[in-house]
Point group: C2
Chain length 371, copies 2
């Protein structure tokens, strides 16, 4: 089950305020989804995700299949119960990880042979297997098994990946059956607009309850990524949610919303957090820099999160330099809050039809990198 | 400032229920102090320490001196403010770490030359330096700079370490001056009862507001440790707090309380937590074992902590096997809660003069290792 309700559209761009209803509750869109690869959003516990306002998280099919195994999670009563998260979960198809984490994979129209990045053991994924795993996990939103052609792939290869993506999407749809889980289709087509258009048409033809734009943010220049996002999003039906996969820098999120995208996910805030990278209203900075040694101000002067209200840059820098888990926790917490509260402000601005003003002001400050 | 109030004594052993008043609040004893080596109790945030009932934490002078430096912490307004912990803090003298983390140290009556375990840089600690650092940190309880002779040291060496400990304790007392910080003396004397007695007499002669028993749990057999603890604790004044340093297994805590000890600290619950080691009412076990793969019950069936109420052994095992920080967090949380709530039960049992019954029952179950 999945319903999308369009609440309000911007009068100046494609930005839209919506609401998605899933089996585990409603999601207010546009939304940023924290990534919980191995059934945990790294360093964060479920109650903390709730505290910072996370409405839905993403988990990775590839990782959970390999460890601890989808059968165990099914036995536990599904992923929600296993990890003690009672709000919506989206699972990816496993395809992207199979391609990006395994350089020995072998792709045919039948599926993909690959080796585990954990122990080198041999495995095979195809559309049916991806559906089987995602149904066992019991996520609210499953993704169709697709092929994301690598950045730099030539036109012919991009066409063949597109064709496989359409073929596999049909197989996924035929095989997929679940009480409440909704299955989204994925648009591919590489860096070519004609192929993006063709892929969108073929996937929409299959009538999924939601659509994702895959294959972006895979190494291409920022301008090209933004151009393709802007081009592709409006090709998707207005009465269904639109999701751009793997995108999560603040500026990309704002541009995505402007293009009409409703859902985003990215490992950026969590991965940066473990390396001392801070997202702020004044741009990105590394807390490791010597200048923060005796800086007793908060990470972000405009942020009202728990971390910014209670800890200084000096203290957090000390923790990161000392390789202390508490340091990884504090920055991850702030970064996630930063993106989640950014989306909340974006939603409010769309409701008030002030999105363009908000976006312009935010980006001007963000790009100024005054920190 | 520091006051000790004896509230109740067991009618059957030396166990005692007391209250220590410090500048940052009162501490109910007997108490277990979580260790926050680098100005953080590993994986835990201050609000979580409060949530599990921690009343006081210990932090390490040696580590904070090397990184980020006591001058920075002084500039931040002291350790409490730097790390956002508003309850009492005890700092050790740095001596134990200088001896145990540096095999190139050189000890004379004047002090200890040592190399940093971080970057190999050369440093010198003496009683005055230890006092200077601890005063800058602004802990509620500082410890005198002592020499802990290594386990296996011969009689003559143990005597010379004892003599230095007394000499240095005098120097610490003369040099120490702080608005609110109390300075505790430390009893050494190795594994020899006559030397323990002599050290206790010499240190008590100097009249500190509290006394620690150092040099235990340094590699000696458990029986010897318990015998020396039982022998030494009653030598200390009844109207001052007694603290056994570096001891934290549940059975040692109970035996220590029985001997009349009020305060304990140990890295055990936090260190075990990061390795998958779980403390429970049925003894210690490693969550890594295959038998917990599909065990959907809590870590400890008798525990009512947040972790045991919300997560299964199966899930926590998965996190630990995946090297996920959330896994380290969950076990650390439980282990600390386990020891802190054990001490709470001990305090209650002393109030009711039921300590011996409680201790016997707890130990019988704990030693049965039925998990």
């Amino acid at each position: 089950m999945l319903e999308y309700k369009l609440i309000k559209k911007s009068s100046k761009c494609n930005a839209r305020r919506g609401e998605i209803t899933t089996a585990h509750g409603k999601i207010q869109t546009p939304i940023f989804m924290p990534v919980g690869t191995a059934a945990t959003v790294k360093t964060m516990l479920p109650k903390e995700l709730e505290e910072i306002g996370a409405q839905i998280i993403l988990s990775n099919t590839y990782h959970l299949y390999l460890r601890p195994g989808h059968e165990l999670i099914k036995k536990a009563g599904g992923l929600h119960k296993f990890m003690n998260w009672n709000k919506p979960i989206l699972t990816d198809s496993g395809g992207f990880q199979v391609f990006s984490l395994n350089n020995l994979n072998k792709i045919t129209d039948e599926g993909v042979n690959f080796s585990s990045h954990i122990d080198g053991s041999k495995h095979f994924f195809n559309p049916e297997k991806s559906m089987e795993i995602q149904m066992a996990l019991g996520s609210d939103i499953a993704m169709a098994f697709d092929e994301c052609a690598p950045y730099g792939a030539d036109y012919n290869y991009t066409v063949s990946a597109l064709n496989r993506t359409t073929k596999w999407a049909k197989q996924c749809k035929e095989y997929h059956h679940h009480d409440y889980q909704a299955l989204f289709g994925i648009v591919q087509g590489g860096m070519q607009k004609d192929l993006r258009k063709r892929s969108a048409e073929e996937i929409i033809e299959l009538d999924f309850p939601g659509y994702a734009i895959g294959g972006l943010s895979v190494g291409e220049p920022a301008d090209l990524m933004l151009e393709l996002q802007e081009f592709t999003a409006p090709l998707l039906p207005e009465n269904k949610p639109r999701y751009v996969m793997g995108v999560g820098t603040p500026n990309y999120l704002i541009e995505g919303v402007r293009a009409g995208v409703d859902m985003f996910d990215c490992v950026l805030p969590t991965r940066l957090g473990r390396n001392g990278g801070v997202l702020s209203h004044n741009g990105y900075f590394s807390i490791r820099k010597a200048q923060y040694f005796d800086d007793f101000t908060p990470l972000d002067h405009e942020c009202d999160c728990y971390v910014c209200k209670n800890f200084s840059r000096s203290y957090i820098r000390h923790l990161i330099k000392s390789n202390e888990i508490s340091g990884f926790r504090l920055i991850t917490w702030h970064n996630l809050y930063f993106l989640i509260s950014l989306m909340e402000k974006i939603r409010k601005s769309i409701e008030d039809d002030e999105f363009e003003t908000f976006a312009t002001r935010f980006l001007a400050k963000y790009y100024a990198q005054s920190v």
